[in-house]
Symmetry: D2
Subunit: 341 residues, 4 copies
């Protein structure tokens, strides 16, 4: 996919799904293939021990097991040179009364502090929030506020991960992007689309205008850079999708193209004209400046950009014509992640 688009040069790992014996060799192999290894994702939702929680579990033995798993992830990060440890927790409850909401929050804070203490100087902890599911009554990190409060208590290298599918209906996601960038706590993005719940569809498929607004705030808030000396920007951008009925690789090609096209549109916003209209209190005028950029067709220019770089003008067609039969059926729970910076 990177070969056809020139985008998404980083591959996130998921432990234990992507466990190998030699991570240094894996990193070298990635470089040979033209990509790098990126964020390491922990997993505390498949083991039966975690049925009633992991880092927030009442039983100290289960918590320690979950903490040890994160220590193992940090070891992997050291071997692969990954910067970010991303934590998404399935912790929560299904029934009121099942558990003590407050106690869980305190235990979560303690477990996170222990993990954070193990991180190297250049490493970061990124805590993802999710409105609901798999727990139905409450999740222990349901919103950006909780994630922010938890990571702010840890230290400067603890950040929030925003997954675009993890909010209540009607939530203004670009506002949260703005706020987290303002607070210096936007660590990473999981991109996907949703109509109702955590649908994990191709990014940009459900509400392209929302994607545009999100990327406009990313740009406005400095989320795209300047890149650090090591080639990473401060925010890691990942896909977190499931391709249930469409093929996975073209689904991901489509996704990164959608993000690229929307980024191009967001960059086209005439910021000077926008400021002028906003300052004049010209509601329709300011709105119109934004919409002008959104309605501009950038596809031909991006095709030209690709051709200049020796990439196919139409990556979707190039893939279809390549004969490469990637019949990978991604089960929902195993949605893979790709990242680019």
């Amino acid at each position: 996919m990177h070969r056809l688009t020139g985008l998404a040069p980083t591959v996130a790992l998921h432990i234990p799904w992507d466990k190998v014996d030699d991570y240094a060799a894996l990193a070298s192999y990635a470089v040979e293939q033209g990509v790098r290894l990126g964020t390491v994702n922990s997993n505390t939702f498949q083991d039966d021990d975690y049925k009633l929680g992991s880092l927030a579990h009442l039983d100290p033995k289960v918590r320690q097991k979950a903490i040890d798993h994160h220590f193992e992830c940090i070891d992997v990060m050291a071997a692969t040179g990954s910067r970010d440890l991303k934590i998404w927790l399935a912790d929560g409850s299904n029934y009121p009364g099942q558990t003590d909401l407050r106690g869980r929050q305190d235990r979560l804070a303690e477990s996170l502090a222990t993990i954070y203490g193990r991180l190297g100087e250049e490493q970061r902890l990124v805590l993802e929030y999710k409105f609901f599911e798999p727990a139905f009554y409450h999740t222990d990190v349901p919103d950006w506020g909780t994630s922010y409060a938890q990571v702010a208590a840890l230290g400067e290298r603890a950040m929030v991960c925003l997954d675009t599918g993890h909010h209540a209906p009607g939530t203004n996601i670009e506002f949260i992007v703005m706020q987290l960038l303002r607070l210096g706590r936007l660590g990473s993005f999981d991109f996907n689309s949703r109509f109702y719940a955590d649908d994990d569809l191709i990014v940009g498929a459900a509400d392209p205008f929302q994607l545009f607004r999100i990327l406009f705030e990313v740009i406005r808030g400095g989320g795209y850079g300047p890149a650090n000396p090591d080639g990473h920007s401060d925010v890691a951008f990942m896909l977190d999708q499931c391709h249930n009925i469409e093929d996975k690789i073209p689904g991901q090609i489509r996704s990164v193209l959608n993000v690229q096209e929307m980024t191009a549109r967001a960059l086209l916003v005439d910021r000077e004209a926008l400021d002028a209209a906003q300052s004049a209190g010209d509601v329709l005028g300011a709105h119109g400046v934004l919409m002008d950029a959104f309605y501009t067709d950038v596809r031909a220019d991006l095709a030209a950009w690709r051709e200049e770089r020796g990439l196919p003008a139409d990556p979707m067609r190039a893939y279809a014509e390549s004969g490469y039969q990637a019949q990978i059926e991604a089960a929902r729970v195993g949605g893979t992640q790709l990242s680019w910076n």
Copy 2:
């Protein structure tokens, strides 16, 4: 209403709706009537100057006007002995591009800091959040996370106000109650009921079980006390309702009785049995302990409690039979507030 129920001994003021010439006299009159003056609410949503914002407005003149209004409220607080300045802002926008989300947040922070600096040692600033409305695209304080981030930057006497109707559908409100109490930032409650939006119905009318869960977390988190030496607890409890089709006074009697009854049920939870079931991982057992309290009929005991205090056993009937013709038609925007501690 206080006379018939023995509850809700405090009356919140709304400036400028409740403006008088002599606030000391008003406070005395309140005491004569058996109640006290409580929270002072500012209002920056009726003046036409605020059409595009108040504390977050781009124009420094409008911001200063809004700040001056809050200074005036602080003067009223000094005269009435009120502890809390409650700020709910209508600031926001209707159209993407209309305004700069980030700039507004920064200006809001600055305005709040100026107001906070004027508060007396015993006074608090309480910032309310609201998911949507009157602005439709974005509100400047849409969620508890934003309110928390803003007040945490101000200082220890800046708190969050939780209005039960100001959340996205499906939001677990008791979780937020727990979190704000845990963070020491739950300043006050606006009680009401909603089915869909900010319906401002009688508290407990739409989802009594949710009210029960909220009050259980209030108790569990220490929200009811211990009361301070001055008779206030740390959290101020207010009604913020509109009585469009029912009479206002019986509507409020019904509301405070609902809160009292639910508090009684929440106090009946067998905390020891709950802890035991939770510790044993007995999901249904723990849920059952909670439900047992919820399904207990406390009404006869509370009627007896009232009679012991010389209050009518059935305040709703007592009011109906009193002949007191309170035909106050509350317009929606003018929903009154009553508080009790």
Copy 3:
């Protein structure tokens, strides 16, 4: 607005807001101004008698009063030559138990039958549904299913009105458009945008892609024509918006241009390629055909279309430069309606 865009040649009336002594004279005046009078809207939500309902009220006197009002509207229709009587009801309740849901539905059916019986041969009754508001617990016509069941019981000239803002969050509105066209019951559209509730923003402002999908189903289902001999198509298209913070006339110009632009994009869908991809089970390919049309910039072509007709290429600028000072402040409840066919 019609003069600047060549669109929206019909003006809907709202009784009693638009009451005049001589409707024939009003109709002539409209023709002189280059427009026609269209749908007549009844109003049973402002009179205090209707506080607990109108056509569904328990009291036969109130029901008769509401029926008589609709008879009056039918008289207006005869005088103006209007085809459609549009009924939106504020009927509902705020509290469970307040009213008998079933009895109201039966009385509503009876009242509607009485009104329907008074219609002329060429006239239609169009029943609008609304998910919530002003009633908060239940509305008597909350969804398209109820409106459909009610009008199907009346006869062939009873239709459903779809207001794009009157659905639960997450509702697939284009599906309902498709279904109502399939059932032959889509009478009219009220266009606007919403982020959360019945926001009544400029159509296309909140989710342009949704507007595109809706208009694609309108075209696919024959909603745009063929026009009847009298110049009307079977579906009446109206704006139902409130312009609270922006000027009303440019807000409406922007709205009709948005609908025109989206219609153009929807007409650009390569239906043959779409059918082929769908038949082949090519999920991404079929989706791509639709998106290609959506992402095509049609604005220059539509500007040329306007210039060919002697209209300004940029109606928004032409209005701004016209010096026409329409400082009409539309109160929310008084959102005006314009229609085009």
Copy 4:
């Protein structure tokens, strides 16, 4: 479970999960165990052929396969003496453009008509609707309106199934119960609880007051009887839950007890007083009559009812003490169904 509660005497079958060689023998075995076989559920969502649809699929071969499966289910019904064929379809799409919404609706109508034509005189077809999932962009039967329009076109023995978890947030479910009973089309209920999506929790666990209101409308609309000569009432009541973290059998005992307790409360509503208050326009009074019944504690009376019948007073405890180790882990997709009448 039936032995401990005296409730839920019918077991629904799911084909092919519950396939046996001899259905007559299965029915006899059920009778020996004190229960009967009830509704037969078809399944067209597991076979890979149905990835893009079943009864609405574009390919006539796939449609015929799905129709044949339903013919097989009807054969099972003949052997077991079941009355209802319940159809829930996973048909839908994930991406706009993926499929033709209208064509699918027409093909669905045709397939259903074919299946309906095969039913015996005493048999019924019951069509379930679901707001979203597993398809994310559209489902072919998303709401009661679509199910109603489809079954009304089939004939008198075609009905709607209402699953309490299959609605958009904020939907007034008891209104739909009322409407379907009014229209004579409420065929069956799938009971469960949800906080956000199709959570499939224990019925009554998330919003007991909603369950109360639903059961009040069931009673008011005649949904509980009079029972037919064959012992069935017209509406079939089933559980459709998943017990992911709690044990399944006690989860189901808790569920049927919750329905029984709520039915008892709903029967306690003083209908005469309610009518009087409603007729007088006494909003708070009428609401109060309803709430009085809801807040009445019926548990002791129901325990006595059980003891009179030789059943354990506390079925949950009786089960716990029975030593019966039912460690059935119900996978989500395989949530079992139990029914009672």
